[in-house]
């Protein structure tokens, strides 16, 4: 029962947050100087053309009125029409979402695997040079944000030793016989490993740039909580049963050390998703973030609104998911 109550409370605050985001974006972009309508008109258009277009996009009404109209649309799944491409915003945004999701999830997987291995290695060899080395590397990785790691990776593996692609999502000469835009996922399902390899080669650098800071955080937090756990009585008891260091770390300490790490990783993962905006720009990767920057530059108000709301939705969903996972993994919450 308390779990249900907590969940309900979470849902309510989630809605409040999303509503707040919507209000802020809406207000902020209505004060954008630079008339988006003017950019759409052919040269020589008259005053009444401008008024007609303004009416078409609802820009002739007051801001609260516009907001209510927009909100009404959103509740029916209508996010408006992009000013630059004149396609429905929802359609545009959903066409780019898979690319960003695949990138984020790949980055998350890299971060969890790398961070986990570093934490376990550091714990196993604690007190020695290896651990000191891991600590120094972690400190570096945490000090420098994804944007700079992206540039460093471009130089290292795109120019100096060009083993990976540093621009785009897929080579332009490849035909994509796919029915969804989850290319990476679908290429595996369709056993097209040639395309899969090309996708990975494009995705690996931006994903790694996003993953480096998160991997360092995971390594640091997990190692710290593993080391704290290693002093506890139940670990000592397991040793007296005849178990060695590796077993003790993985089976006794790890399940307990994961939980405190998990909640922080959830928040950090939303930072990672936020980082895709600039990383996609840097690697010319055709995802949501890249689209968002173009939308801002082109003053495409409905599109900006749609993308920001979608990001906010993803962030809040990730946090919700982390909460649920935490509850599912924690025996104290699972029962009673």
């Amino acid at each position: 029962m308390p779990i249900l109550k907590r969940l309900l409370l979470r849902l309510v605050t989630t809605f409040v947050t999303l509503f707040g985001v919507a209000v802020i974006v809406f207000v902020v972009i209505r004060v954008v100087p630079g008339n988006p309508i003017a950019m759409m008109l052919p040269p020589g258009a008259g005053e009444d053309d401008i008024l007609r277009l303004k009416a078409l996009y609802g820009l002739d009404k007051s801001i609260p009125e516009q907001f209510l109209i927009w909100l009404g649309g959103v509740l029916q799944g209508d996010f408006g029409t992009s000013i630059t491409t004149r396609q429905p915003v929802l359609e545009l945004v959903l066409s780019r979402l898979p690319a960003t999701l695949e990138l984020s999830v790949m980055a998350l997987i890299i971060a969890v695997v790398a961070g986990g291995i570093l934490a376990l290695t550091g714990t196993r060899l604690r007190g020695g040079r290896v651990e000191a080395g891991i600590d120094v590397a972690n400190g570096m990785a945490l000090s420098v944000p994804d944007f700079l790691w992206g540039l460093v990776l471009i130089l290292l593996f795109g120019v100096l030793w060009p083993v990976f692609q540093i621009s785009g999502r897929v080579s332009p000469n490849i035909d994509l016989p796919f029915s969804t835009r989850f290319y990476l996922f679908e290429s595996v399902l369709r056993l097209r490993f040639d395309i899969w390899a090309d996708l990975v080669s494009h995705m690996f650098m931006p994903a790694l740039a996003l993953a480096i800071p998160l991997a360092a955080i995971i390594a640091q937090l997990l190692k710290q909580s593993l080391k704290e756990t290693m002093h506890l009585d139940y670990v000592t008891l397991a040793r007296t049963k005849g178990y060695g260091e590796n077993h003790v770390i993985i089976r006794e300490a790890l399940p307990n050390a994961i939980l405190p790490t998990l909640t922080l990783v959830g928040v950090q993962f939303t930072f990672l998703i936020g980082g895709t905006v600039i990383i996609e720009r840097l690697f010319s990767y055709e995802g949501l973030g890249n689209m968002a920057i173009n939308a801002v530059i082109n003053r495409d108000l409905p599109l900006i609104q749609g993308i920001v709301i979608l990001f906010a939705l993803i962030f809040t969903m990730v946090n919700l998911l982390v909460d649920l996972t935490y509850a599912a993994l924690n025996p104290r919450l699972r029962r009673g």
């Binding site: 139940y234 397991a238 040793r239 005849g242 006794e252 025996p331």
Partner: protein, 289 residues
């Protein structure tokens, strides 16, 4: 009859600087219940940890031998040593609230040693665990096996830990202040349970405690430690009749008697402590030369 556990001249230090155990000799015979007594910091727990191979990393065995069932632990490969200890010895820990892994169910925490270290079949280990839970008088053992530690009381958890310690029929059990963390009412039950289990299984028991009252109820023999030095090694009858060392006598005076729990207590006098410290200094000097 040779002893099941023999410790000879064991010296343990903190990073080679601070002596923790000073040339300790100790023997526990099969089926013997030996008390290991001293104030906190006397090194009594460290002896238990040295036997079971769980000394903190900063502590080092400088010299001496620990023979478990005739095998010199220090000369064995780490993996063989761990497995020997896991098969022939066990620990009843001090604090039942922290000695069970909160993320794992009770069942596997009892059976894991049997399956992983001793190679039992899972089914056999499971029925053995149920049998033991029943033996330590836990009602509804099936339910308890599936429970997580936080769902059980402190007394229940200590019973489980006792059952788990006896699971592999070890020849020696180290009980490290097993009743200190419990309520007074539960203490007596647990103490009686340990004594009954010990008697039924014939296991040797090294009972680490600061409480002479507990010692008088359960132990046959007794070792008194001060500053990591063995001051006295005697039987219970002799000890309570006439302690062989002034410090022991003072310790006895500082313990409430079961016959007269509200009688006056004398703290260990400073002169006795000074004398004991002088003995430590003399020992260190002799060793350095």
């Amino acid at each position: 009859m040779s002893a099941f556990l023999t410790i000879e001249g064991l010296n343990v230090s903190l990073s080679g600087v601070l002596p923790i155990l000073r040339s300790v000799d100790l023997a526990v015979h099969a089926g013997e219940v030996r008390g290991l007594v001293g104030e906190s910091g006397a090194g009594k727990s460290m002896i238990g940890k040295a036997i079971l191979g769980t000394l903190p990393r900063a502590l080092r065995i400088e010299s001496g031998r620990i023979l478990l069932d005739g095998e010199d632990l220090q000369r064995m490969r780490p993996r063989d040593r761990r497995r020997l200890i896991g098969a022939k010895a066990a620990l009843i820990p001090q604090d039942p609230l922290t000695a069970l892994n909160p993320a794992r169910r009770i069942g596997p925490q009892i059976t894991d040693r049997l399956v992983d270290i001793l190679g039992w079949r899972r089914r056999a280990a499971l029925s053995r665990a149920l049998e033991l839970l029943d033996e330590v008088r836990i009602t509804d053992p099936e339910r308890v096996m599936r429970a997580y530690p936080h769902e059980l009381s402190g007394g229940m958890r200590q019973r489980i830990l006792i059952a788990s310690a006896f699971a592999a029929e070890p020849r020696l059990i180290v009980a490290d202040e097993p009743t200190t963390a419990l309520d007074v009412t539960v203490q007596k039950q647990i103490l009686r349970l340990i004594r009954d289990m010990q008697a039924r299984h014939g296991t040797a028991l090294l009972f680490v405690t600061h409480d002479l009252g507990v010692v008088s109820k359960i132990c046959q023999t007794l070792t008194v430690l001060y500053g990591g030095l063995v001051l006295e090694d005697t039987t219970i009858e002799e000890f309570f009749a006439a302690p062989g060392h002034p410090y022991s006598a003072a310790l006895l005076g500082a313990t409430p008697k079961y016959t007269d729990p509200h009688g006056s207590l004398t703290p260990v006098p400073q002169s006795v402590i000074d004398a004991a410290n002088a003995q430590l200094d003399a020992f260190d000097r002799a060793r350095r030369q």
